[in-house]
């Protein structure tokens, strides 16, 4: 099944639940009508939260740049000795 169909079926199920709630009147109708908006806003907030948290915890590796420079120097030395042209870029 194509992924977009999976998402649409999920949407259909959620909508059916919402319509069910509307008809069953367990929650006052005025609240029930607003549920989709609450849902979308919560989804948006969750997304923003995930982006923010991810950004704060974004793994960085400054030491890797240094290690890379060392590796490059080592490689250049070896290759120069063996006759490979490691001149400028």
């Amino acid at each position: 099944m194509k992924h977009v169909l999976k998402l649409l079926s999920l949407l259909v199920v959620i909508s059916a639940l919402w319509i069910g709630l509307l008809q069953a009147s367990i929650i006052p109708q005025s609240h029930t009508w607003l549920l989709p908006i609450y849902f979308i806003v919560s989804l948006g907030c969750y997304g923003l939260l995930m982006v923010g948290v991810g950004l704060m915890r974004f793994p960085t590796c400054p030491q890797e740049a240094l290690l890379l420079q060392q590796d490059i120097a080592e490689a250049k030395d070896f290759l120069k000795q063996k006759g490979v042209d490691v001149g400028s870029d």
Binding site: K2, H3, V4, P59, D71, I72
Partner: protein, 239 residues
């Protein structure tokens, strides 16, 4: 599977990587001492003499270890992999970039992970503990993170790093997945891993560090973002 009988074909597409290709070959040989492998350089007619350097490297390391399989001009990444695959004699294929943003020192961890888990694909991820990125400013990190959250929400891909291109595949799996992919650029990398995930292939991840050496050039303009969104929609609808 008998570990001793495994051979790894490392496909490295190049375009104007005259210096980097020599460095990366040295580093691959340094980190894969007891491994049976070959490096397949797919050069797209680089005007800077990349192929000359590869020939020098062949004299040094052997033409059976370094294969030069060039093409006449820049023809795109997907076709470069397909081209390289045709010449691959290993039962595993590694794809990696030539510009040293992918460090060969992680190759043993890819191999180890595959042997431990029997996975069909091992993909490098920059976004977990143990991995990381260097050389990205805040804006770049923000777009990367935003793009990732969007992709996770819309696609449920099963991997943490969708656009990464440092991967180890079982050769038969790569052949199967690549035949059904049509995108270009980094959307191609996304399509590969999403299609593999949909087909039910066992995918594992290893942390990698990514040192972006293309300083100052922002690869993320408005058109890139549009391409990305179009790619996401395409993948939602076709996978």
């Amino acid at each position: 599977m008998d570990a001793e009988k495994n051979k790894y074909s490392i496909i490295v597409p190049t375009y104007n990587e005259r210096l980097n290709i020599a460095l990366i070959v040295y580093l691959i040989f340094k980190h894969l001492r007891d491994v049976d492998f070959e490096i397949i350089v797919v050069d797209d007619g680089s005007p800077d003499g990349t192929q000359e350097i590869v020939k020098q490297l062949q004299k040094l390391y052997g033409e059976d270890r370094i294969l030069l399989r060039p093409r006449a001009k820049k023809l795109g990444l997907g076709t470069a992999y397909i081209h390289g695959l045709k010449h691959a004699s290993g039962n595993f294929v590694v794809i990696m970039d030539a510009d040293l943003s992918h460090h060969p020192k992680y190759l043993p961890s890819f191999i180890k992970k595959q042997l431990e888990t029997g996975a069909s694909i091992v993909t490098g991820t920059r976004y977990v503990t143990g991995g990381g990125v260097h050389g990205w400013n805040l804006m770049r990190k923000l777009t990367s993170r935003g793009a990732n959250v969007l992709a996770q929400t819309l696609l449920w891909p099963g991997v943490s790093d969708l656009t990464g291109s440092f991967r180890l595949y079982k050769k038969s799996v790569l052949e199967d997945v690549i035949s059904s992919c049509v995108s270009k650029g980094y959307v191609f990398q996304m399509e590969m891993i999403v299609r593999a995930s949909r087909k039910g292939y066992h995918i594992e991840e290893v942390p990698i560090t990514f040192v972006d050496r293309v300083f100052g050039s922002s690869k993320l303009g408005g058109s890139e973002i549009v391409e990305y969104l179009k790619g996401l929609i395409y993948l939602m609808v076709t996978t």
